[in-house]
């Protein structure tokens, strides 16, 4: 099937998911017990003032009307206004975006750098010592809390040998890179048990596939077979596996940025909890969900571009 046709179809599939996300996020806030007016007004709340606030926030209208008004604001790029300091939530998230991007991209790159070679190493000879060693990694690694990995990295690579800063995000691009290395590594170490396991399985499948056997039977050298057949398929497999686990990776950034005191999007949300700042929690939740859907879409499109068999 034509790639553009597939891409179009895949785009259309995203729409119901986005609607679902907007409904879920919208309802989230309506599940909260208590009155937002009390939060805004604090001690100064009176019934009359609350009523004014209700009207200002629009929560005196029917819930359906509120949802569509919320949706309308979303279409105009507005995620609402912070209750506490009246700042635009979209702008607040925008300010934290670069730190989150550093963590995510760094996490993805380091995950691949760790997982792909290990998976290829293990799959290259099933059952050999190297395979068995690599297979132990997911078993041991699955239970490593990412916050704990982060602290141990701080201890070993930050405090003992001073290679990397242990907290903050710095001001220049190079500082950003250096500051985000350890957190990205924590994310990668936390994710790689899952990646290694799935990747090893897909590599084994590829290596046992008929076309690889055919190539071998044709007398093509092993290195050549690996390069021309296996690597390309390994990339496809990696993209797929990453796409499936992207939600996990995004969630990890939220936790890990806290360990390294990096002011990224997750901290915005966690701090908002203490001040009961609904629009920020709502906005950040929506933001992350959209990031996941987008990355998933990208992964599928890359997969489709690389793999001629995709014709869903």
């Amino acid at each position: 099937m034509n790639f553009l046709f597939y891409a179009g179809k895949r785009f259309l599939q995203v729409i119901p998911a986005l609607f679902g996300i907007s409904i879920a996020v919208f309802l989230l806030v309506h599940l909260i017990p208590g009155d937002p007016a009390d939060i805004i007004l604090g001690q100064t709340a009176t019934p009359a003032r609350s009523k004014v606030i209700h009207h200002m926030l629009g929560i005196d209208r029917p819930i359906i009307v509120q949802y569509f008004s919320y949706l309308n604001h979303l279409f105009h790029g507005s995620l609402g206004t912070s209750y506490v300091n009246q700042l635009n939530v979209t702008k607040l998230i925008g300010g934290r975006l670069s730190a989150t991007a550093f963590l995510m991209v760094g996490g993805i790159l380091l995950s691949l750098l760790i997982s792909v070679p290990l998976a290829i190493l293990a799959a290259s000879r099933e059952g050999a010592v190297r395979d068995q060693v690599v297979r132990v990694i997911p078993i041991v690694g699955l239970g490593m809390p990412q916050v704990w990995v982060g602290i141990e990295l701080i201890l070993l690579l930050g405090l003992k040998v001073h290679w990397f800063p242990v907290s903050g995000f710095g001001d220049t691009f190079v500082q950003h890179l250096r500051s985000s290395f350890l957190p990205a590594l924590s994310i990668a170490i936390g994710l790689s048990p899952i990646l290694i396991r799935s990747l090893r399985a897909s590599m084994l499948e590829i290596l046992e596939a008929d076309f690889v056997l055919t190539a071998k039977a044709k007398g093509i050298s092993k290195a050549r077979v690996t390069l021309s057949h296996v690597v390309r398929n390994a990339i496809i497999a990696s993209v797929t596996v990453l796409g499936v686990n992207i939600a996990y990776l995004v969630g990890a950034t939220v936790i890990v940025e806290r360990v390294f005191a990096i002011p990224a999007t997750g901290s915005l949300m966690i701090d908002a909890i203490a001040t009961r700042n609904y629009p920020i929690v709502q906005g950040v939740t929506l933001f992350f969900a959209v990031v996941v859907v987008t990355v998933n879409l990208l992964a599928d499109l890359i997969h489709a571009a690389l793999d001629p068999r995709v014709a869903l």
């Binding site: 119901p16 998911a17 679902g20 996300i21 409904i23 879920a24 989230l28 599940l31 909260i32 997911p138 078993i139 041991v140 699955l142 239970g143 490593m144 809390p145 990412q146 916050v147 704990w148 990995v149 602290i151 141990e152 701080i154 201890l155 405090l159 939600a247 996990y248 995004v250 969630g251 990890a252 939220v254 936790i255 806290r258 360990v259 997750g266 949300m269 966690i270 908002a272 909890i273 009961r276 929690v281 709502q282 950040v284 939740t285 992350f288 969900a289 959209v290 996941v292 859907v293 998933n296």
Partner: protein, 281 residues
């Protein structure tokens, strides 16, 4: 095999408890951890939340095996009591997702139709939310504590069981014995309960092992963020968080609770791998 008649449950037969030491090692490890948690008051006579401000941050000694923390609480005791909290919530939290996901997957896979389509849209929406983001949002709604953790794990976790069971049902419903059961006019509920469920559930059981690990990780991570089990209750995540400040001098305070999680995960992974080999014939 044909003539000797063996009475017994198929599960024990299918599990075939022979060979594969790592499976037993995993079971032994988890049993050991559970015993440690249950017997905590017998192993240590310290109070896990009892402060001793004259003896803060003392190094390991015969009295305090792992020293004390910044409030003079015995670290070893807190690790034992932490096991109680983390293991209990970790195991309990997968129960609801397991039941809900399995039931919905069974119904969705068997009947298909509009229910299946709707459910799959809900699944698509749910997996778009990163777990920790949703968990934090739910803590915001419900307030910190085990309730929010279990709610968050349930809201996200059922999806995996639902997909696993649904996929297995789609395969199993074309098997001859299911056809035969259908043809013999048995009630649908009975076919689902007696013929489908027992044959697809093993996939969910296998997954639940790593799911327990993930839920313990969630409790620990939320505890670290101060959104989990409220302090001063001994809990591995908040211990890691409180110990972070003293890591250069007292590295073991945050390190040992983390290692406990790793050991738990290791044991459950071994059990999970053993189950894969045994249940998948």
């Amino acid at each position: 095999m044909s003539t000797n008649i063996i009475r017994g449950k198929s599960f024990t037969k299918k599990l075939n408890f022979n060979g594969n030491g790592s499976f037993y090692f995993g079971i032994g490890l988890i049993t050991f951890l559970i015993i440690l948690a249950v017997a905590a008051p017998l192993i240590s006579h310290f109070d896990p939340t009892g402060q001793d401000l004259l003896n803060t941050l003392v190094p390991p000694s015969r009295q305090h095996w792992l020293g004390t923390d910044q409030l003079g609480r015995d670290v070893f005791t807190r690790i034992l009591y932490g096991a109680r909290i983390d293991l209990t919530i970790g195991f309990a939290a997968v129960l609801l997702p397991f039941i809900i996901g399995t039931t919905l997957g069974l119904i969705s896979g068997w009947f298909g139709g509009w229910f299946d389509s709707l459910l799959m849209r809900i699944v698509d929406t749910t997996i778009a939310f990163p777990f920790y983001v949703l968990a934090i949002a739910l803590v915001f709604v419900v307030g910190p504590g085990p309730k929010a953790i279990i709610l968050a794990i349930t809201l996200v976790g059922w999806v995996a069981y639902c997909r696993i069971i649904r996929a297995a049902v789609l395969v199993a419903k074309e098997l001859d014995y299911v056809h035969a059961a259908k043809l013999s006019g048995l009630p649908t509920a009975r076919i689902l309960r007696k013929h489908l469920l027992p044959n697809v559930i093993s996939q969910a059981i296998i997954f639940s092992m790593s799911d327990i690990v993930l839920s313990i990780l969630a409790i620990v991570s939320l505890g670290y963020l101060g959104l989990g089990v409220p302090i001063p209750t001994a809990e591995w995540g908040s211990m890691i968080q409180e110990g972070q400040a003293y890591i250069l001098q007292q590295w073991w305070i945050p390190t040992i609770p983390g290692l406990m999680v790793v050991v738990t995960g290791f044991g459950l992974s071994l059990i999970g791998d053993g189950l894969v080999k045994r249940l998948n014939r």
